[in-house]
Amino acid sequence: MRSPFSLKQEFLKNWILGLQRCRSSKKNMSIFERKKVIKLSADVAVASARNGITCWSRALIADAVKEGNADKHLAEKILGPASERQPTEKVPVGAMAYNKRIRSKKIPKRSSVIRRTIKCAPQAARPSSIVKRLVGKRRQILRSLIPWGEFMNGVSLIEETLDYIILLRAQVDVMRSLASASKLVNLN
């Protein structure tokens, strides 16, 4: 796993890039609009830092540009030309490294892999005793908090949660540093 420091750099780089792409429309933005641009570009940047290998990050970007999303155009502007974007769908099931250990030896047929990509996770054959304890309302709530969490189960849900939290923390750290640095600059 990449060190947290390089994750922050990756996030910051993506974020600045996204903000630059919105530069033209910024002259007379209201505080509310500016907040929206800052937040959306930060969220997209943190998802992009994962380079499409996790389900939640693909979910975040896919949802941002979905038809019917009010800020779709803004998201597309931030993401830049389609040629520079990362893949957001059709990824091998269980793309995260540790899932490969528990996948069965049988090589799935191509059609079954595509059919399962929406689910983002290999299904556990039988719920273990611990998984049984992770059911119910709390698991539902957790799934509602992770992008595309409703498609995840058991092991993959926890793995995605772990990754999501790590990236969220990196995002908060960088944004906090920027906020304190901006305050210092503004005071001068």
Binding site: Q20, R133, L168
Partner: protein, 92 residues
């Protein structure tokens, strides 16, 4: 033959899942500020889940608050401005 194989792989998957899940839940515990500082090892999986949800929600709120503050602090989002250059050099 095939039933034996499938029975074996089923048993294999569920017992690995148990250990995997224990490992992952403990990793989750490490990340949660509430639970990590407690000495006790006996934290239930459902408590971990609950703290995880609370933590994620608080992180979301922080991102929102910080976005609000930043939009007030940054007069423009001109990433080429002198301010942005100073900020960048302070953070990196």
């Amino acid at each position: 033959m095939s039933s034996r194989r499938s029975r074996q792989s089923t048993a294999g998957v569920s017992s690995i899942s148990d250990d995997q899940i224990i490992e992952l839940v403990s990793k989750l515990r490490q990340l949660l500020p509430e639970i990590r500082d407690r000495r006790s090892d006996k934290v239930s999986a459902s408590k971990v889940l609950q703290e995880t949800c609370n933590y994620i929600r608080s992180l979301h709120r922080e991102v929102d608050d910080l976005s609000e503050r930043l939009s007030q602090l940054l007069a423009t989002i001109d990433a080429d401005s002198a301010e942005a250059a100073i900020i960048r050099s302070l953070i990196m």
